[in-house]
């Protein structure tokens, strides 16, 4: 009898304990400030005609955005940089109205007058210096990126800021148009304080950010009364959340789902050509792809239009070169096209030194599209008598494997998140660029850097002051790498964003992280 009652007490206690544990654990979320749940369910928000929610693929709060008060500088438009990136991927005034190169390594930026932070304080040169100092202090690697040492930003007067670059760097203004260099108040309190059209209302750590309009914004007022960015990592869950109406907008939609969302009555998609290009980097310094005839044969085998239509479900643009046509100095229209002509490709294979080796196609396991692209390419190569095998590696290993020269062919895609795109051509094709440096330092080779002549062209383009000059030098590089088969161009990327059919007013941008939400509206 005693044992039975003891067991009952034990079971009752266990039951209560388990219930308490679950309640406690789930309650811990509530204690973070979520009284109606968080994540992808925001039905209550969606019911308001002026509140909108956007599902992001990345956590808008996680990535050590402490210097921005804990929120991502991407997407949110809480912070504004000195320089804007236009839809043509050019620089334009934002917080700075004009800038000039005082000498080869000195830039001076004049600040816009009448700009106020969300707490009412005026924007000053000291605030800009302080903002950059905080970035330098937080990320020791930033000087290497923008070519300015931590003591290289100074206030000349209340409205003028001077930047001292370590070398001649004409692309500097574009470089600081990146979201990383949004200006923030020098003494931020708990909430992030910027100058942008939206201000922070609430941050749910590792889950969401809620914004409201900054009423005293100097520019046009924004339409949404509330804008929430939620983290929904899984792409399929983002789509399901959108279909249910839990979110109004979902970014980075799988291309395979785009057509269905576009066809559905209650959802729609928006696409936007981005500065990113997908291509095959061909290893010029390992047999058999060191043979130009074989490289040209591979190019003749590829049908870029079919890749876009069949593999990428119609999103993207067939590429002729390695640089997206969005970028001002891209020379897409002037580049030669190869085909497809597999008969000619077979003849070139016959004429080449290729003797049946299997080519390795390296892909990043994170990019699901790449696997299908690689399989398609492999089929076409097989059709012209060239054997290939696909090697898939995890994202963290991918770049090291690529730059170690372990593959004959590597599927890569590169783009820019600012108006400064010079680094793309330098990283890809200069012998000292990040893609080739490893092998170049080891044995004087590289991966897909054609050599000294192209290096010189890139250096001239890098020092060029105008787009026309850049186009001349970088255009020559693009022609050279296409003609010699150092690359197999595939597609220029299009970002896909899905929305509820009743939502409109999304002002897309080539850099998707700069999409403008200020005109969002909802119809009945």
């Amino acid at each position: 009898m005693r044992r039975r009652s003891s067991r009952r007490r034990f079971l009752a206690g266990l039951s209560a304990g388990v219930s308490g544990l679950i309640a406690g654990c789930t309650g811990s979320q509530l204690s973070l400030g979520s009284d109606s749940g968080t994540g992808a369910n925001t039905d209550s928000q969606s019911s308001s005609t002026e509140s909108f929610s956007v599902a992001l693929a990345r956590d808008p709060t996680r990535e050590k955005w402490d210097i921005y008060g804990g929120i991502t500088p991407y997407y949110t438009h809480v912070f504004e940089p000195l320089v804007d990136t236009t839809a043509e991927m050019k620089t334009a005034p934002l917080l700075a109205t004009e800038w000039e190169a005082v000498d080869e390594t000195t830039w001076e930026f004049s600040l816009r007058e009448g700009v106020t932070f969300h707490n009412g304080d005026s924007l000053t040169a000291d605030a800009v210096v302080s903002s950059f100092d905080r970035v330098f202090e937080q990320w020791s690697w930033v000087p290497g990126w923008i070519g300015v040492e931590p003591d290289g930003v100074t206030a000349v007067d209340d409205t003028t800021v001077r930047f001292q670059t370590t070398e001649h760097f004409p692309a500097f203004p574009g470089t600081i148009s990146h979201n990383y260099f949004g200006i923030q108040h020098p003494d931020p309190d708990e909430t992030p304080v910027g100058t942008g059209p939206f201000q922070v209302e609430h941050v749910e750590e590792e889950q969401s950010i809620t914004l409201t309009p900054y009423e005293d914004y100097r520019g046009d007022s924004v339409d949404p009364t509330e804008l929430t960015f939620e983290w929904v990592k899984d792409p399929n869950t983002r789509v399901l959340s959108l279909q249910k109406g839990s979110v109004d907008i979902a970014e980075q939609i799988p291309k395979s789902r785009a057509a269905a969302l576009a066809d559905a009555d209650d959802t729609a998609i928006e696409t936007q050509l981005t500065p990113e290009a997908g291509l095959v980097a061909v290893n010029l310094y390992t047999a058999p792809t060191d043979d130009e005839q074989l490289r040209k044969a591979l190019n003749w085998a590829v049908d870029q239009r079919q890749i876009v239509e069949r593999v990428l479900n119609g999103t993207g643009k067939p590429a002729r070169g390695p640089i997206s046509s969005v970028i001002p100095w891209a020379v897409h229209d002037d580049l030669p096209t190869y085909g497809p002509d597999r008969e000619r490709a077979r003849e070139l294979v016959e004429d080449s030194s290729y003797s049946g080796e299997s080519l390795t196609i390296l892909i990043n396991s994170e990019n699901t599209d790449d696997k299908m692209v690689a399989q398609t390419l492999s089929g076409w190569f097989d059709d012209i008598g060239v054997a290939s095998e696909i090697r898939q590696v995890d994202p963290a290993s991918f770049y090291d494997t690529f730059t170690a020269g372990e593959a004959h062919l590597t599927l890569v895609s590169f783009g820019s998140n600012s108006a400064a795109c010079d680094y793309l051509v330098r990283a890809m094709f200069h012998s000292e660029g990040s893609d080739n440096r490893n092998r170049h330092e080891q044995d004087g080779t590289g991966i897909y850097n054609p050599g000294p002549e192209v290096d010189r062209l890139i250096e001239r383009g890098y020092r060029a002051e105008t787009v026309a000059e850049k186009r001349e030098h970088y255009g020559a590089v693009q022609k050279r790498v296409v003609q010699t088969g150092a690359v197999i161009p595939l597609y220029y990327d299009e970002s896909v964003l899905a929305r509820r059919a009743t939502v409109s007013g999304i002002d897309g941008h080539p850099v998707s992280k700069m999409t403008d939400w200020s005109g969002l509206s909802r119809s009945d």
Binding site: I22, S28, K64, W141, T237, E366, A396, S397, S418
Partner: protein, 316 residues
């Protein structure tokens, strides 16, 4: 249980945990992939970082030091309770774990409850009437449960229960309503395994002499099954429930992603892909501790369920 055995067991646990930490650190260290480049690329929104930036990041994080130096530094801090800071976010690893652990515990406990609630009755019903329609239905259900991938079941439940029936939210973390679909997703796979084991164990026990004796005494079948048979069948079931902990942690990775629950599974996977060594080490160590402690608890439970079994799981 005596003090000497307990001390020996604790010492073994420490050795296991040390081995886990060395292996994890060593394996991730020799795996290709540069944390500096990976993390910078992610932080820069996919933009390729410059070589100078990569080198400065490596220097700042001590990534240029040899493996023994890095490992010794980590161990030195870990024994003082400092698991380091994430390369990615600079947050303290202990804080990151503390934030996510409740979600994973809630998911694990809820899914285990779902599993046991489904599996034990199904296994018993199946064993009591072997060859019956109930038995076939239970076995078929178990087969489906074992075969169905977590992510697929997760999406299916979202479509049916959330989109069509509007019963639960699609995803997120919050109240109990957010826990139902993830727990069903994760629990169903475990239920299938446990149900099959309950059935097998019950069939064995129901053939035993003491069950025939109980029946011959005229005891009601319910008493025979639930009091005399089930208790004896529970020893292997408890073992498998303990081992299913690994399933919970593995499954949590997928379920947490599908249902957008910030937990240890997603934290670990993201850290592995980013080569965020301190986070990988911290979470792995915690998982090791959970495993070791659970096994210890299972051993203790054996002797509680069957006094003939000595502490440590060895029959006396």
């Amino acid at each position: 249980m005596n003090g000497w055995k307990l001390a020996r067991r604790l010492a073994t646990m420490l050795v296991v945990l040390f081995g886990v930490s060395v292996l994890t650190y060593g394996l991730i260290f020799v795996t290709p992939g540069d944390p500096a480049r990976t993390i910078l690329t992610q932080q820069m929104g996919g933009q390729t970082p410059s070589q100078e930036a990569v080198e400065q990041f490596r220097a700042a994080k001590g990534l240029d030091d040899p493996f023994p130096v890095q490992y010794a530094r980590w161990v030195g801090n870990a024994v003082r309770g400092d698991l380091g800071q994430s390369y990615y976010s600079d947050q303290a690893v202990t804080a990151m774990i503390a934030t996510r652990l409740p979600n994973t515990i809630a998911l694990g406990v809820a899914s285990m409850l779902v599993a046991v609630a489904i599996a034990v009755p199904a296994g018993i019903a199946s064993a009591v009437e072997p060859g019956s329609q109930t038995d076939y239905a239970a076995q078929f259900g178990a087969l489906v449960g074992v075969s169905m991938p977590n992510f697929w079941l997760g999406y299916l439940l979202i479509i049916v229960c959330s989109l069509w029936l509007d019963l639960f939210p699609v995803a997120g973390a919050g109240g109990l309503e957010y826990l139902v679909l993830p727990a069903l997703t994760l629990g169903s796979g475990m239920a299938a395994v446990i149900a099959r084991l309950v059935r097998t164990a019950m069939l064995d026990v129901l053939d035993d002499a003491h069950i025939r004796t109980a029946r011959s005494k005229g005891l009601r079948e319910r008493i025979v099954v639930y009091k005399h048979a089930l208790r004896n069948a529970l020893v292997p079931v408890v073992t498998i429930i303990g081992l299913q902990l690994s399933y919970v942690l593995n499954g949590a990775v997928v379920v947490e992603v599908v249902f957008q629950r910030p937990g240890l599974g997603t934290l670990l996977v993201d850290a592995i892909f980013a080569r965020d060594y301190p986070v990988v080490q911290g979470v792995t160590l915690l998982i090791g501790v959970i495993f070791v402690v659970t096994n210890f608890a299972v051993d203790l439970t054996y002797s509680r369920l069957d006094p003939r079994i000595d502490f440590g799981g060895e029959p006396t």
